[in-house]
Amino acid sequence: MPAQPLISTRHLTIRFGGHVAVDRVSLDIEPFTLKSIIGPNGAGKTTFFNLLSGQYRPTEGRVYFKGVDVTRLTAAARTRLGIGRSFQLTNIFPSLPVLENVRLAVQAQRRMGLKVWRHSRRFPELEDRAYEILETVLLQSKWNALASELAHGEKRKLELGILLALEAEVLLLDEPTAGMSLEEVPTIIGLIEAIKHRRDTTILLVEHKIDMVLALSDSIAVLKDGRLIADGTPEAISRSPEVQAAYFGGGATGA
């Protein structure tokens, strides 16, 4: 008997005007696995993420988290339940220091955001935990810098750090290596691998770098024109003729 899936979608659909961006997608994500979602540009991957994290409300269909219907919950409520997400375009607090970016996430996770009677520096445990996380994402030397002053790759690391601070059960990673230089990519892959090997977090990954996806994933789902066209192990997916035509084929014809 497989365990109950951590996240399930049933007939998840969203329409923007006449355009169906996500079309009746039913997908299960097993706990403590890493599932990748691939597909050509415009396949609806990020939109699907937005439906899972609550940024968008679906036109039809349901989202379940641990068997509970969360379709109507806001993004903030889903984060409090344990669904943390990163964004394709770097999404940090640019005018705040690096440490403060992570500290705010730790503060959110510990539900201490409404405390008003004491100076925020009087909660050293939040700062210390934030610094620990900066060490994990190899950003500790920049703790004092403003987030806006970081290089692009460092900003992605910071985003991952913010996400780790939430101690979410599910991490939705939307192209964590987008726009990164080649030297920076292995650090991020190493970080994702480290999280995966802890076996306490479920990761959903949208990524274009196909070798990275094949190496990291336990299973891969393929979206095309908003529809789920395949879902299986990396081996099965890379052999599937349908996927070859829809996804890998696009690159082959160009070559």
Binding site: F93, P94, E100, Q107, R118, W143, I162
Partner: protein, 369 residues
């Protein structure tokens, strides 16, 4: 790891915390703040002129009002044009309670402040609940509409508010003009002086409260929301609740200050308590001083109010110095023009306001070291 115990070397964060704690009595800004407080406290003793004492207390009042606006616009990123309206509510509460419906007693004075605060908090919550969820521009327009409406009401309901003429409340006991308690340090301790000190203490207390507010975990969350609302939401913060708390808090502080203002000038009318001109002044002051600095209000209020008090005197100076030259006398008459030039220069040389720009330069210099 945190569990390593005291023998482990402190992380840079812990080291900076220890350093900050050790250096907390050696900060130059601490002594600057104490000196400023002393200056305000000694003003009635050192400045025998009532005009200067009046200027000092108005600077303190407006600096605190600007700081409360800064909590909303600078720290939370909510653009409100209704802030002066809450100031007006506080002022009218004192005027109505003491001068119209009640009597000059301490009880009615306390009631006035309670009512001013309650009405402001309630209206701020209602406006926020209906318009904070929508886009920022909408909130700005709604607050402007409410402010205009309050002004019209104050003018039109003249049987209640005294219309354009306003209300001149008498104050009770130690605040009354007739009150005297002899001389202390060569100063007549009269109702004016007592009011000066009470209002000053209220301003100081509000300033300290706001300082704690913006530096608390809640205040930090507000700055996160200002910086990137979507990200804050994705961290799990109910951003709407935080914005509501911030705008209501700012409004309540403004209402208390309005009450203090009415106590000091002993007069409330639409122009002096509710007009858009006050809102514009507060806006100018927060821009001159710097948004998101809290202390910027002191610079902004000092510059604007001093200029407004002293620049009209330029004409007298002009007549005195150039009795023969009509052109030079004419030039000195145009004090608003000079104020405009001053404002442009400040914005040009201090794009983030005086305090904001100075802080930026200092922190850059620290980073370079």
């Amino acid at each position: 790891m945190t569990s390593d115990g005291p023998s482990a070397a402190p992380t840079p964060v812990q080291a900076s915390r220890i350093l900050e704690r050790e250096a907390r009595f050696r900060q130059p800004t601490l002594y600057l703040r104490l000196a400023l407080t002393a200056a305000f406290a000694l003003a009635p003793v050192l400045l025998p002129s009532f005009q200067l004492m009046d200027l000092m207390l108005k600077i303190a009042l407006f600096a605190t009002l600007v700081a409360s606006y800064d909590v909303v616009i600078g720290y939370t990123g909510i653009v409100s044009f209704g802030h002066a309206m809450f100031f007006g509510f506080g002022a009218y509460a004192v005027g109505l309670s003491l001068g119209k419906f009640g009597a000059p007693t301490y009880g009615y004075l306390a009631l006035a402040f309670a009512l001013g605060v309650l009405v402001s908090a309630a209206l701020a919550l209602v406006i926020g609940a209906f318009s904070l969820r929508v886009k920022a521009l909408f909130f700005a327009m709604i607050t402007l509409a409410f402010a205009e409406y309050a002004l019209i009401l104050a003018v039109q309901l003249s049987h209640l508010t005294g219309g354009e003429d306003g209300i001149s409340p008498k104050l009770p006991g130690v605040f009354a003009v007739s009150f005297t308690a002899g001389k202390v340090l060569g100063v007549d301790v009269n109702g004016r002086v007592v009011t000066y000190y009470v209002v000053l203490v209220v301003c100081l207390a509000l300033f300290l409260t706001m300082s704690r507010f913006v530096h608390s975990p809640l205040g930090r969350t507000l700055q996160a929301i200002r910086d990137n609302e979507q990200r804050a939401e994705a961290l799990g913060y109910r951003t709407f609740i935080f914005q509501l708390i911030s705008s209501s808090f700012g409004s309540v502080v403004a209402a208390v200050l309005g009450g203090c203002y009415a106590m000091w000038v002993r007069y409330v009318n639409p122009e002096s308590a509710l007009s858009i001109q006050i809102m514009l002044d507060v806006l100018l002051m927060v821009i001159i001083g710097g948004m998101g600095t809290l202390y910027g209000g002191i610079i902004g209020a000092a510059v604007l109010l001093t200029a407004r008090t002293l620049l009209p005197d330029l004409r007298a100076v002009g007549t005195l110095m150039f009795p023969g030259s009509e052109i030079l006398q004419r030039l000195t008459e145009r004090w608003l023009l000079y104020f405009g030039i001053l404002f442009i220069l400040v914005v040009f040389f201090f794009p983030k306001g005086v305090i904001g720009t100075v802080r930026e330069v200092l922190s850059r210099r620290n980073a370079a070291r």
